[in-house]
């Protein structure tokens, strides 16, 4: 306390943990794993009208090695599942997964031989964004939830 008052407003004291969380939550590099109709809504959310860049998530990476959030957008079939798993495995830590849309959360409208009933049966999911497809507001809400989660996590160095 004493130090802070001596230094005035030129210095902010905090914990490394908090700084790292703050940095990480505002520099999300998404990997959009887009397979179906939800992709249109992802594009709407990412384009200038809703401007996902306000949350530091505006730059999609199309290489899993450069991304830290796997955005699974659209129906995942059993044929597609091994590919999704492999993309997830290729991502570096720390990494998060967002299930975008009803199909990824639970299989959505499809309950048949072809569709995976929720991607959480294949990869661990951090945030579920429901909707068929979710509105951009819902997507932004999901990103904010993810940011809260990132900030509150223990930050591995």
């Amino acid at each position: 306390m004493a130090i802070e008052s001596a230094l005035g407003e030129s210095v902010v004291l905090t914990r490394t943990d908090k700084v790292l969380g703050w940095a990480r939550k505002y520099s999300l590099f998404l990997y959009p794993f887009v397979t179906a109709c939800c992709g249109m809504e992802y594009m709407a959310a990412a384009a200038s009208h809703y401007d996902i860049d306000r949350f530091g998530a505006g730059l999609p990476r199309f290489s899993p090695r450069q991304a830290d959030v796997l955005f699974v957008v659209g129906t995942i079939s059993h044929k597609q599942a091994p590919i999704l798993k492999r993309v997830w495995e290729q991502m570096c830590e720390p990494k998060w997964v967002v299930a975008f849309g009803g199909c990824t959360c639970s299989g959505g409208p499809y309950d048949n031989y072809a569709t995976v009933q929720g991607i959480d049966t294949i990869v661990p999911v951090d945030v579920y964004i429901p909707g068929c497809p979710p509105r951009p507001e819902t997507v932004l809400d999901g990103i904010m939830k993810l940011q809260e989660k990132i900030q509150s996590q223990k930050q591995e160095l």
Partner: protein
Amino acid sequence: MEESLTLKKLRERFPASIIDTHSFRGDDTAVIKRVDVVDICRFLKESPDLSYNFLMDLTAVDYLQMGNSPKEGRFEVVYHLYSLKYNHRVRIKSPLTEADPTIDSLTPLWAVANWLERECWDMFGIRFDGHPDLKRILLYEQFEGHPLRKDYPLTGRQPLIGPKN
């Protein structure tokens, strides 16, 4: 109602292989015996006044446990032909038995039949004799059975990875 030109010509040309024909609001259908499918389609394609040059769709129906199931068999292969020249269409159906769901391939007539027949094999397990490469097109090789058959379990899943769900 007067029979359309297509059905009339079919009846004249293939009296023994036409099982039935009907026209509903201008939609012509001919139910045929499977042995003549290639000859009939070639006739439809190559006759100058019919000129059905476009195979629009090729699929099948499984009539398992349906009251109106065709006596000749459980499956019916359905072909939709269209003439770009005359803007008319015809539907060709051919019943197949459960024991021997086999019909001749239309690949010599239309290249598009290749993929359509592979899909039909994938989903219904109907074999197309003379097809150059009859293998699954949508599902994976490890998949067992044919999911659009009515006796395939509704929630029968064969995941490649992950738990059965």
